[in-house]
Amino acid sequence: MTDQDILNRLTRILRELLSDDSIVLTMETKRDQVANWDSFAYISFIVAVEIEFGMKFGVAEVESFQNVGAIVRRISAISPTR
């Protein structure tokens, strides 16, 4: 699974969550650059990502993600390879 694969899946999740097909995530995207991606939607996003990748982030990890790239790298590091 490449970083791009993960990024694509994150993009799909966020599009479905916010019902917004115009969303395009990059490794550099920050939460405040995406409309409606508020703190509540962020928790929902994290839940959906955990379900999608069959894993769980620690509470400190979730707070430390500076951009989408950080999430991608973390998933890449701990997710079981498929």
Binding site: I13, E16, L17, S19, S39, F40, I43, S44, I46, V47, A48, I51, K56, F57, G58, V59, V62
Partner: protein, 612 residues
């Protein structure tokens, strides 16, 4: 045109809601559903629900609405600002008051109630502290009822406390685990006394495991006490209670025989060859299903049999097999033949005079299940696991028969349906309908609602869909208010005949029109389908007219509001001598009727009057 399109769309969404949906799919379906409209399309009803919460509950809303949609309820959910549930309820200017909720759900964490109790508290001190929390809850319940006439649902407390002493925790009055346990005990007691409904997530979390319900990460991240992965179950449990309160629970359990009620095939294996009863695990598993069905019957669920068998062979098992728990007298409708089961289910619903959507069909054969799902999508068909040991759990977990009351009439229902079978036999042997009705030796007892009747009255109003010209649902609180309202006339009717007591089977609420003091409106009139065609509607109207005349009323006004289920009363008022109104009806499709009491000619019936 646009309306038709939206009704069509709603049907499609409701069909989607039947599927097992993932986290994101639930959110998407909820968004597609959009905000609830004031006017709900045919076949759907809208409910205004307010959740007063002391933790974050916003993430539960999609699952609540989707679970409602599954039961054709369009739930408009209002959530007050986080943790401000008291102010919301007490402040007449709050948005909550504009919503006028029909249902108020209190979803609270136990944390606040136990925070101030020291570990060293004596049992008396701990109880006093818990008592104060319960008193406050009761005040909130009262407030919600007085302000909105809403039905109150109280969520039980998740026991999220970590052990301090281990098993010894439950022996220490001030230990958090024990405090929450005690809080729940006292809550149950208060809810029973105050007739408040429960959303028992404490019990659900015991069954599923606390980890399925509580995720400490989510609590820390956003004060979510109910984990997002529990949302679908939560939504379903809540929608069940709301649906039960509105009379949408299932009423009849239809059971297959071979490999369902017993192991093996009676036609091939014979009475000695089927597997049933103590001695083998398989035999006990089938017996357990029988026992569960029998318990359901005791609480008022109607039992029916639908099997591909020879009737005589099938009935003989119920009569003669020593291990059988279910007996012929437990079964209200027994259908065993070689015809299509969909046709047989229709026949059962017809025979019992209940809607086909109130059936649950339990069959081990996947082909039969698929056939029913395909041809009768309104019938509930649990996906029975291959292992008979899991039958009871599968049936119980689905919550088809969720209830909001348990009355004396419920426990007698089984007998009443059995008595109905005797009446059917008597009907067949009677020369004419008139002979039959005379021979039944019927008598009616009647009077205003008594306090002891209120639960049954509210239940009958809540669950009657056919003989119900207005389909207005009134909660226990509403009913109590009618009784206390000046000029309101309430009547309840009990019908007895030579085969038994049918119990409280009809209810009428007549309320005065403030604009026309000599006019009284039939707000609600319901009758149990068990006594249709027995002339009770005529005798009830005779009684209502007499009662109204005594209070100086000049005329009755009555509306018939058609639904998909109440066609049986479309001609009720014209048959009773009412005349159609000159004015336009209040809504499209509604017909409005008047009866001048001075013109009323009492209907002749074969029903005698009996003192209460």
């Amino acid at each position: 045109m646009a309306q038709e399109a939206s009704a069509d769309r709603l049907e499609k969404l409701a069909a989607l809601a039947q599927h097992r949906l993932g986290f994101l799919e639930t959110i998407q379906l909820d968004r597609a559903l959009g905000p609830a409209c004031a006017e709900s399309p045919q076949g759907f009803s809208s409910v205004r629900l307010a959740i007063l919460a002391s933790t974050t509950v916003d993430h539960l809303v999609p699952a609540i609405r989707v679970s409602g949609l599954r039961r054709r309820l369009l739930i408009d959910v209002h959530i007050g600002p986080y943790g401000q549930y008291r102010q919301q309820l007490l402040d007449a200017e709050s948005p909550l008051h504009r919503l006028r909720p029909q249902i108020v759900l209190l979803s609270l964490t136990a944390r606040e109630a136990i925070a101030a109790v020291p570990l060293t508290a004596t049992a008396a001190e701990a109880d006093a502290a818990i008592g104060r929390s319960i008193d406050e809850l009761r005040m909130l319940w009262r407030k919600a009822r007085e302000t909105f006439h809403a039905t109150v649902i109280q969520q039980t407390f998740l026991n999220i406390a970590e052990p301090l002493f281990g098993s010894y925790d439950r022996l220490v009055a001030g230990a958090p685990v024990q405090l929450i346990a005690r809080l729940n005990e006292r809550l149950l007691q208060a809810a029973a006394e105050d007739d408040v409904l429960l959303l028992d997530i404490a019990r659900a979390s015991e069954r599923d495991g606390l980890d399925a319900w509580f995720d400490v990460t989510r609590w820390l991240q956003g004060k979510l006490e109910i984990a997002p992965q529990a949302a679908p179950v939560y939504g379903d449990l809540l929608a069940r209670v709301i649906a039960a309160q509105r009379g949408l629970s299932k009423k009849c359990l239809v059971l297959d025989l071979d490999n369902t009620l017993w192991g093996g095939v009676i036609g091939d294996d014979g009475p000695d060859g089927i597997i049933l009863g103590e001695g083998t695990g398989t035999g006990e598993a089938h017996l357990a299903l029988q026992r569960y069905a029998k318990q359901l019957r005791e609480r008022g669920v109607i039992l029916a049999i639908c099997s591909k068998n020879d009737l005589a062979v099938a009935e003989a098992v119920f009569r003669d097999h020593p291990e059988m728990l279910l007996r012929l007298t437990d079964i209200a409708a027994f259908v065993a033949n070689w015809e299509d089961k969909a046709a047989n289910l229709r026949r059962i619903a017809e025979q019992l005079n209940i809607g086909i959507e109130s059936l649950v069909f339990v069959d081990d054969n996947p082909a039969e299940r698929a056939r029913i799902r395909e041809s009768l999508p309104m019938v509930a068909v649990p996906e029975l696991p291959a292992d008979a040991a899991q039958y009871v759990r599968c049936l119980a977990d689905a919550g088809y028969f969720e209830s909001v009351a348990f009355t004396a009439d419920d426990s007698r229902r089984g007998e009443q349906y059995a008595a109905n079978a005797s009446r059917e036999g008597f009907l067949e042997s009677s020369q004419s309908m008139d002979d039959f009705l005379r021979g039944l030796e019927m008598s009616v007892a009647f009077g205003p609602f008594h306090t002891v009747d209120l639960a049954r009255v509210a239940q009958l109003i809540g669950k009657t869909n056919q003989f119900n010209p207005t389909t207005r649902r009134h909660s226990l609180e509403d009913v109590a208010r009618f009784v206390a309202t000046d000029g309101c006339l309430t009547l309840q009717f009990r019908l007895v005949d030579r085969f038994g007591d049918n119990g409280l089977v009809s209810v009428m609420i007549l309320r005065p029109d403030p604009q026309a003091p000599d006019l009284i409106e039939i707000d609600t009139w319901v009758m149990s389908c068990r006594v249709f065609g027995r002339q009770l509607e005529r005798e009830a109207m005779n009684i209502a007219v007499e009662a109204a005349r005594r209070t100086g009323v000049r005329a009755f006004r009555a509306d018939y509001i058609p639904t998909s289920k109440n066609g049986v009363v479309s001609e009720l008022y014209s048959a009773l001598g009412f005349t159609p109104a000159q004015e336009a009806p209040p809504h499209d499709g509604t017909t409005r009727w008047y009866l001048e009491l001075s013109d009323y000619v009492p209907c002749s019936t074969h029903i005698a009057r009996r003192p209460q």
